[in-house]
């Protein structure tokens, strides 16, 4: 299933989120199960299925990492459910250091400033990875798709760090 086609978008890493949200509302309205209250059982079932499919597509296209994965899947490289291990030592050392910093935030004299600084460094680190990914996703070469997959894996670690930092922040200020 090509989610871009479903939303009448050209397959690209850059997506206009306003247009995406608008198409989502239109599609949802068209197949909403309430409209099929008096329809046949089969049409009812189809409407539920379509609604679920549209929701999946929207969640996938909204999230940059999932969108990139979907683009790669359309090019023939399936990443979801993979259990590939990342072995880039330098990258992982940096991950480990940041995980350690997250543990120390609450002991800091100024946790708020510490959290801001960490968010900024995560963003600065992820930026060139995302930029590289964007270029690699334009390619039709398998070798570059494999490189794109490696960037996606790294971005997943960055997303995890952000989640963990948000958790630390919530625990401190709630």
């Amino acid at each position: 299933m090509n989610y871009f086609e479903l939303f009448s978008l050209s397959p690209s890493f850059d997506v206009d989120t306003a247009i995406l949200a608008e198409r989502y509302r239109d599609l949802q309205r068209a197949v909403h199960p309430d409209k099929f209250a008096n329809a046949s059982e089969q049409d009812k079932r189809l409407s539920v299925q379509r609604t679920a499919q549209i929701n999946d597509a929207f969640q996938t296209l909204k999230n940059p990492i999932q969108r990139a994965e979907h683009l790669l899947a359309l090019k023939g490289l399936e990443l979801s459910h993979e259990s590939t291990t990342l072995k880039d030592t330098q990258f992982l050392m940096q991950q480990m250091e940041w995980r350690e910093s997250l543990e120390e935030v609450s002991d800091s004299d100024d946790p708020e400033a510490e959290i801001e600084a960490l968010y900024a460094s995560f963003e600065a680190f992820a930026k060139p990875i995302t930029a590289a990914l964007k270029v690699l996703l334009l390619s039709d070469l398998v070798a570059e798709h494999l490189q794109a997959a490696e960037q996606i894996r790294k971005l997943k670690f960055m997303a995890k760090l952000q989640d963990e930092l948000a958790r630390v922040e919530d625990a401190l200020f709630d």
Partner: protein
């Protein structure tokens, strides 16, 4: 999801947590990560000149199963030769800890950590 007793034991009392001096020439390090869950695992082995693993330490950021898998591995590799340690399979780890199917990747990560550390050992030996 219910963790097995062995996972809980390793999680609550992890064995051999920490790091060796990375400047120690007999120490090799395996760093691995699982993109699906963002787990990061570091396994260090101190290997003597007879190729026997004298000591092991780990540090893991991840779920209980990932911590238990790496903790168990540090216990298992101690006293083993490099070849014996290289023969440890993720299925052995998963079986020992009674990991459910959704957590098998944690045992794969631990096996890959041993492999990564031993790869460093081999490349050091060939120098």
């Amino acid at each position: 999801m219910a963790y097995s007793e062995k996972v809980i034991d390793h999680y609550e009392n992890p064995r051999n947590v920490g790091s060796f001096d990375k400047n120690d020439s007999s120490v090799v390090t395996g760093m691995v990560g699982a993109p699906a869950c963002g787990d990061v695992m570091k396994l260090q082995l101190r290997i003597n000149d007879k190729g026997i693993i004298e000591d092991a330490k780990f540090k893991t950021y991840g779920c209980g199963s990932a911590i238990a898998s790496s903790s168990l591995v540090t216990e298992w590799v101690k006293g083993k030769t490099v070849a014996e340690a290289g023969a440890i399979k993720n299925t052995d780890i998963a079986e020992e800890l009674a990991l459910p199917p959704v957590k098998i990747h944690c045992s794969i990560l631990a096996e890959d950590a041993i492999r990564a550390a031993l790869d460093e050992y081999k490349s050091k030996q060939s120098k």
